[in-house]
Symmetry: C2
């Protein structure tokens, strides 16, 4: 038996998220089916984290334990031959005995893209949230500094989840804007609550719109009140970007 570490990129547009579920086709299911087609083994593919319906990944990190005669150097291409074209295995390597994609993850980075321009861009419309109204980018940058650090982020957690602790550490939150109006928000932390990145982005958009003053971000975090933060930004702008172990 071999323990494989599988890095997968996918465009989530046509999938009901990563995790297997009865009501729609998922990334996990496609990966498991590809491995079944290759090896005849029904195994579970574990991911570093779930991604919701419509959310993308540049580098989801997965694990599979299986028995195969396919050389490890050929395994990524072999899987890609069986996968739909919007799911692409980037690399496969043999993992350490103790490796676990979720429990061993030290830092996770998510990227959220907002296209803030008058008209959409057909080349990125599936992976960016198109927002054609005025956003004051400097206000968003000012507000973002309150998010870095270790805080109780209950205000950015979907109310229907149960977790022991809502305290997380955000190592960095970087915003940039290019000349096409594409705003890229990279947020790196030790872990994220359910919908945390999308609610942070939704709050930054309210600040960019002028609805919430930038310095209120501090008070919103301290309030631990989900009703004071902004709406959950739509899934298509979000991408699981990098997992470090």
């Amino acid at each position: 038996m071999k323990k494989l570490k599988i890095i997968v990129a996918y465009k989530g547009t046509n999938y009901h998220g990563f995790a297997r579920q009865p009501n729609g086709i998922t990334i996990q299911e496609c990966l498991e089916k590809a491995i079944f087609d290759l090896t005849g083994q029904k195994i579970e593919v574990l991911g570093a984290g779930r991604t919701d319906t419509g959310v993308h990944a540049k580098a989801q990190c997965c694990m599979a334990i299986l028995d195969t005669k396919i050389p490890i150097t050929k395994f990524a291409s072999a899987m890609n031959a069986k996968l739909p074209k919007d799911i692409v295995v980037q690399s496969v390597e043999e993992a350490d005995e103790n490796f676990h994609p979720r429990f061993n993850a030290k830092r996770k980075t998510y990227r959220y893209q907002i296209l803030n321009s008058k008209q959409n861009n057909p080349f990125i419309q599936d992976i960016a949230y198109f927002y054609p109204y005025n956003l004051d980018f400097q206000k968003m940058v000012l507000a973002s500094i309150y998010i870095e650090g270790t805080h109780d982020f209950k205000c950015f957690c979907s109310s229907n989840t149960q977790v022991k602790s809502t305290t997380r550490t955000v190592y960095s939150l970087n915003l940039k804007k290019d000349e096409q109006g594409l705003i890229t928000i990279d947020i790196c932390g030790n872990g994220f609550l359910y919908n945390m990145v999308r609610i942070i982005v939704g709050t930054l958009i309210e600040i960019g719109r002028g609805v919430i003053p930038p310095d209120d971000m501090k008070m919103i975090i301290e309030s631990q009140n989900r009703n004071l933060s902004g709406p959950t930004a739509p899934p298509q702008g979000l991408m699981m970007y990098n997992i470090e172990y």
Copy 2:
């Protein structure tokens, strides 16, 4: 009557090129239909150049002459409400009386993208040619310098076309490669022969593969022989990038 200059971006994947034709849906047809839906007028939309099946445009420049009460500032958004989502009008402005998108074009820039990596990238696979084999990028750069300037480019012209002169001026040809293996080739000239950019790229790929030595590019151009240049690179990597007037 108003003469409108319409800048359009489109992903050509699902279209039979720009120019109207009986056998498949085209960009021109979609633009004309959108204008008909808005104004009730059956008019012709002229483009700066044709793009083939599967070829994209970041900024195709079009012209339409019509009578409309829709304010010019709202016309782009009005058209986008009628267009499929992979065709997006970027801007509409009133053009000069003498403006013609094809005859007045001074400089055209095309971009060709090659993804030279082991595995594909689901976010750009529709707009880059995936080439997973070894390419010596430095050889491609060395060969490219022979293309700049005014030359008879008959060797890069599809044999089934008839034009008066096959002499064109290439102002610049720039290649860059990023850390993901994405090779971007930007070529700017006063005009291009049919399939010229794709044959130049096909020849650069033969050079990158080591099949043709870089310095042979000079001899290939001088030969004026289409049989000595490389194959026509596939359409999905090509994008009409910019037109200057």
